[in-house]
Symmetry: C2
Subunit: 130 residues, 2 copies
DNA sequence: CTAGTTGCAAAGAGTTTGCATGGCG
DNA sequence: CGCCATGCAAACTCTTTGCAACTAG
């Protein structure tokens, strides 16, 4: 399963990497990119490929049926747990040392191995608490 | 918006409260209860009501489009963070004191207020790590 | 009685897929 | 050139909704 460097893939990656703190639905993405000549199905297919490659995270905000995608900026995301603000929709990184402490603590006390790439903590960010 | 105590609601609650450690889809629930004379739409409508009443948690396992429901046993769940095993599908409770420590730590270090009722940590449980 | 609830089937929303055409390498 | 990717529209899945019949209070 090769990976042609098509115009659509390039434009999508470019778009995603400039929206790293947002979780976007395929529909929204496709709409934003329509002008650049990318079909909805190209968006879906490329997102699926990117997810398989580990370049994009797929997520549903808690319990909605809507699926959202977010670019994984490996330089910044690696090793962090993610905090998602239910009010403004932005994503934040939990401090690295805290993440480590936390993951280890759960491993020890609850015998549970956290999957950092997959879990997202829901709540409210500093700005929105105001 | 009253709340008639109908046969369907009773049977559904009974069913859910005896599956507290599982996350079930509306389809599965409806299928299991079909024999007891409950339609799919009654299942959906009652689940929505129960969710609004805070008796049921709605969740999608990370990024799938499928929605799952789980009875909230307030005596046991209150104040705990939930750990979901991606392998066996069971849910566990994080220790109370640890949950508190963790939530406070994030509030202090990251200025982020965790919503305990809504967040679920993904990973692998003791049994499945074997 | 009289409103909320049910069952059914039809409508919706979002996603996936088949197939002919187009474009990367 | 050969093969993968694209675009379109049709198919799918799961959920929601309209409406007449039913039932709890």
């Amino acid at each position: 399963m090769p990976n042609y460097n098509t115009k659509q893939r390039r434009v999508l990656l470019d778009y995603l990497s400039s929206h790293t703190d947002e979780q976007l639905s395929a529909g929204i993405i496709a709409n934003d990119l329509k002008a650049r000549g990318i079909s909805l199905s190209a968006v879906y297919r490329n997102l699926a490929t990117l997810e398989a490659e580990g370049k994009v995270r797929r997520n549903t905000k808690g319990g909605s049926r809507q699926v959202f995608y977010q670019y994984i900026d490996n330089d910044h995301c690696k090793g962090h747990l993610h905090l998602y603000c239910k009010k403004c929709g932005k994503t934040f990184h939990m401090h690295l040392d805290e993440t480590e402490r936390f993951v280890n603590s759960i491993a020890k006390n609850d015998d549970f191995q956290i999957d950092k790439a997959n879990t997202i903590l829901y709540g409210m960010c500093k700005m929105c608490q105001g």
